[in-house]
């Protein structure tokens, strides 16, 4: 089976993010970047499925030359080859989904796995748009609430299980009040939640091998997608700083404050 997985480049949440004084964006200087953690989980799940059913994992990233770093990371984890859609400049979620649609139509995978959202602007839209554009079934927030540490994690019943005939996938999803299990016809679009798996490290031999794995370069023009943004970011601002907490002497005061000041109870 063939699995297409996204690998978006995002700001490392451990670096200090500052909004530019004019609100036009964030200060790029001194920032570190990494693969979107939800995408990394997607790569891991793709690799596990490919190991079980045979086939290949193709990673795709959209952006300038620098996104090749994230593609290499996914290749070093074990993905077989990469597609790089070369585009600098802003892209909104519709444009991203449009580009991925064309890549998917070209690659004809059995499944596309995306992160449920990327941790930079937390939109949670691309996977859903993509399924709609492709006319495929979709299962969002694939998850499995189990301890991610230890051997159990490796041996657990996977949240993504492909049917014996290779025509369906059963997906355990995280929903507000628990877990829901969906069965979708393939090809399908799946988006990953945090507790789906614990991604492997890129091993040193993996990193070495990644050097010689192919990265195919495409462009919006070549794919025939109009990427003119339909959504415009007007202004960015930092959230107001949190006020310092207070200490209360006893439970009675706490309840009083919750009731009368916070109006929470």
């Amino acid at each position: 089976m063939k699995i297409l997985v996204t690998a978006k480049r995002v700001e490392d949440p451990e670096s200090k993010i500052k909004v530019k004084p004019d609100g036009s964006g964030i200060v790029q200087e001194g920032l570190k970047y990494k693969i979107n953690p939800f995408d990394e989980i997607g790569v891991e799940e793709g690799l596990r499925l490919a190991a079980k059913h045979g086939g290949e994992v193709v990673v795709v990233s959209i952006g300038g030359k620098e996104v090749q770093e994230q593609l290499r990371h996914a290749l070093a984890m074990g993905a077989h080859r990469a597609v790089w859609v070369n585009h600098t400049g802003t892209l909104d979620q519709l444009a991203l989904a449009g580009l991925l649609q064309k890549v998917a139509e070209k690659e004809k995978p059995d499944m596309v796995i995306l992160g449920k959202q990327s941790i930079d602007d937390d939109q949670n839209q691309v996977g859903q748009y993509l399924a709609e554009f492709l006319g495929w079934s979709q299962a969002t927030f694939a998850s499995k609430v189990e301890s991610l540490e230890s051997e159990q994690e490796k041996n657990k019943v996977p949240a993504l299980q492909v049917g014996a005939d290779g025509k369906t996938v059963r997906v355990v999803r995280e929903v507000d009040n628990g877990l829901a299990t969906l069965e979708c016809a393939l090809p399908a679009v799946v988006t990953t939640d945090l507790r789906l798996n614990l991604p492997r490290y890129a091993s040193l031999p993996g990193i070495m091998k990644a050097k010689s794995k192919p990265i195919e370069e495409l462009t919006p023009e070549k794919l025939g997608v109009d990427v003119t943004p339909k959504i415009q970011v007007l202004k960015m601002s930092s959230p107001p700083p949190r006020k310092a907490g207070i200490k209360v002497p006893d439970v009675a005061t706490l309840v009083d404050k919750l009731r009368n000041e916070a109006k929470a109870v």
């Binding site: 200090k16 570190k32 970047y33 770093e69 290499r72 990371h73 070093a76 490290y201 890129a202 091993s203 040193l204 031999p205 993996g206 990193i207 070495m208 990644a210 050097k211």
Partner: protein, 602 residues
């Protein structure tokens, strides 16, 4: 500039020790800024492993959980972290020395683990890589590469530590010619409790110093009880006993009577690597101390805001910058010497050994400098913690104890100081290094009152000149001592050690100026790097001047001494920078980064 000095700066790749004779910036150096994309990725994986899989287990490791250590080695093996120095043909990756060192750096935050890892991948595995025959390599290396087997290295004995070749352990060929029968004992052997393979040195017929591969379970070979150590308590350190231990003749490593080749070359590399093997720990301690001091309030103020605390942060960052810069510069020299050689070639390992030996002076510098820098750093880190720094609950207490061993093993710092000056003089006498010719021109230059000029007219021009002055002090001191004592010089250890310190300061400052300039972006020098280089120079200049002066006083007397002192006097340069302002530039970078400010992983 006098001719003698110009003559030596042309060569592209400097030979070992040549930094002392060449001008600052004579050749480009490898530094974290020049790491390749792959090297950064290797480092990232290694750091992730160390931070997520090793550090959280610190307490269990410290309680000598050898099952856990073995398991961690196996997991490291799965990621390829044990494969770096092993050729591809034997299940390794055959990577460069720079990579090997940056992985060692990544493994270093927990010293007990770091020592376990280094003993296995370094002194335990490399003897087989470099000196094993094809059959030995095929038998042992693939298993050592995955961590299925763990290795140890047994050189030291009760009666022979620094005097490594004075081993008493004896090997005698059995009457049927199939075994060597070993008798004797070894002391302080790292990884002994759980190693499967031991590299053991013994004297054949009590005379010919030879290496052997001894497997656990060999009849007559036993491992003694654990030592109770001051630090690196999680690592295993035991004696070994050989009572008529029968080692098959095919387990002789290298040639009979040539064991010293193995021992010394392994030591050279270990010394170079020691710089890397303390670096990650130093960075961690700086970050921890900063965090502690930012939270801890006294007099209503975070202790991180007191000038005397900030002075310590600046000193810590500066020491890290120095160690980091020298470490990767030296690794880069070794790699450059090997560039273009086919790794598959039968004689590749001979070239590796030769390249490492070429930079034996720099390697001894790394050993002494890095071990003492880390000692200073953990001392500052404890002090910043106040009483808490003395309490086991705080990791800094462990780091303080752990740091001490570095000055003792891989050749004590005394032995390595002797080597630094001794090798420089030896290469000078042999004509491998134009040391005396250059020293002669330094003397003439000083006699005529000439002083080094700076080549670059930037913010580090003064530090560049100081680096040149440090080199002249070292050269002048070595020349006078050699002339005064001739072959007796070996006996005058304080003179040699004092001048070795001057040589170290010269290498450090030369490296820092070079790297700071090399990493300028758009022609702008980075303010924090400039400040660290200046702070280092302000410490190095007066102390090195004083050490040279003492060496001169110990070598000559009377009028001759007066003349020497007059000649070197102008070499003591002074920069009127405000140290508190420099310190602030460094500390604000440290605060912004939450630790050492020049992290390379992105």
């Amino acid at each position: 500039m006098v001719d003698g000095l110009e003559a030596v700066q042309a060569a592209e790749l400097p030979t070992g020790g040549a930094f002392l004779l060449q001008e600052v910036g004579s050749s480009r150096i490898v530094s974290p800024e020049t790491f390749t994309e792959e090297q950064r990725l290797y480092l990232k994986t290694a750091l992730q492993f160390s931070q997520e899989q090793v550090l959280p287990l610190a307490e269990r490791i410290e309680s000598k959980d050898s099952v856990l250590l073995k398991e961690l080695l196996r997991r490291a093996g799965e990621l390829g972290l044990l494969m770096i120095d092993i050729p591809e043909a034997y299940g390794g990756l055959g990577l460069d020395k720079t990579t090997s060192l940056l992985i060692a750096e990544a493994m270093s935050p927990l010293a007990s683990w770091s020592v376990t890892f280094s003993a296995h991948t370094g002194i335990g595995t490399l003897p087989i890589v470099w000196f094993g025959n094809a059959r030995q390599k095929a038998k042992y290396l693939p298993k050592l590469a995955t961590g299925e087997w763990v290795s140890a290295y047994a050189l030291t004995e009760q009666g022979s530590g620094s005097d490594a070749l004075g081993a008493k352990t004896k090997a005698v060929l059995s009457p049927d010619g199939r075994h060597y029968v070993l008798n004797g004992s070894k002391l302080y052997i790292t990884n002994a409790a759980f190693a499967d393979v031991f590299i053991v040195f013994a004297k054949v017929d009590g005379e010919r110093f030879t290496g052997f591969i001894v497997e656990r379970g060999t009849p007559g070979f036993t491992v003694g009880p654990e030592e109770h150590k001051m630090g690196i308590r999680g690592s295993s350190t035991c004696p070994l006993f050989f009572e008529d231990a029968r080692v098959p003749v095919e387990n002789v490593l290298g040639e009979i009577g040539r064991g010293h080749k193995i021992a010394f070359n392994i030591l050279n590399y270990g010394r170079l690597k020691l710089g890397a093997a303390v670096l990650g720990g130093m960075k961690l301690q700086l970050g921890n101390a900063l965090r502690f001091a930012q939270e801890r309030k006294q007099f209503g103020t975070p202790v991180a805001s007191f000038p005397l605390t900030r002075e310590k942060f600046a000193r810590m960052a500066t020491l890290i910058y120095a160690v980091e810069t020298m470490t990767y510069r030296t690794a880069g020299l070794v790699d450059a010497r090997l560039a273009g050689r086919a790794r598959q070639a039968a004689d590749y390992d001979e070239h590796v050994i030769a390249a490492i030996e070429e930079y034996a002076i720099e390697s001894s510098i790394m050993k002494v400098f890095a071990s003492e820098a880390t000692g200073q750093l953990v001392d500052d880190a404890v002090q910043i913690h106040g009483g808490a720094g003395y309490i086991e609950e705080f990791p800094v207490e462990r780091a303080y104890r752990d740091a001490r061993i570095n000055r003792i093993f891989e050749g004590t710092n005394e032995i390595n100081r002797m080597l630094i000056s001794g090798l420089l003089l030896k290469r000078g006498v042999k004509g491998e290094l134009p040391l005396f010719a250059v020293a002669q021109s330094v003397e003439e230059e000083l006699t005529y009152g000439g002083l080094p000029r700076a080549r670059g007219e930037d913010a580090l021009a003064a530090e560049e000149r100081m680096a040149e002055c440090l080199k002249r002090l070292a050269l002048y001191g070595l020349k006078v001592a050699a002339e005064a004592f001739g072959t007796e010089l070996e006996q005058h250890q304080e003179v040699l050690a004092g001048l070795a310190d001057v040589v170290m300061d010269a290498y450090a400052l030369d490296s820092m100026v070079t790297r700071t300039r090399q990493s300028a972006s758009n022609g702008e020098l980075d303010a924090a790097r400039v400040a660290m280089t200046r702070l280092y120079a302000m410490e190095a200049m007066p102390r090195s001047f004083e050490r040279t002066r003492r060496a001169l006083c110990a070598s000559t007397r009377g009028e001759a001494l007066g003349a020497h002192l007059a000649r070197v006097a102008p070499l003591q340069l002074f920069t009127p920078y405000n140290p508190a302002e420099l310190r602030e530039v460094v500390v604000s970078a440290v605060e912004q980064a939450g630790g050492y400010p020049l992290s390379v992983v992105c």
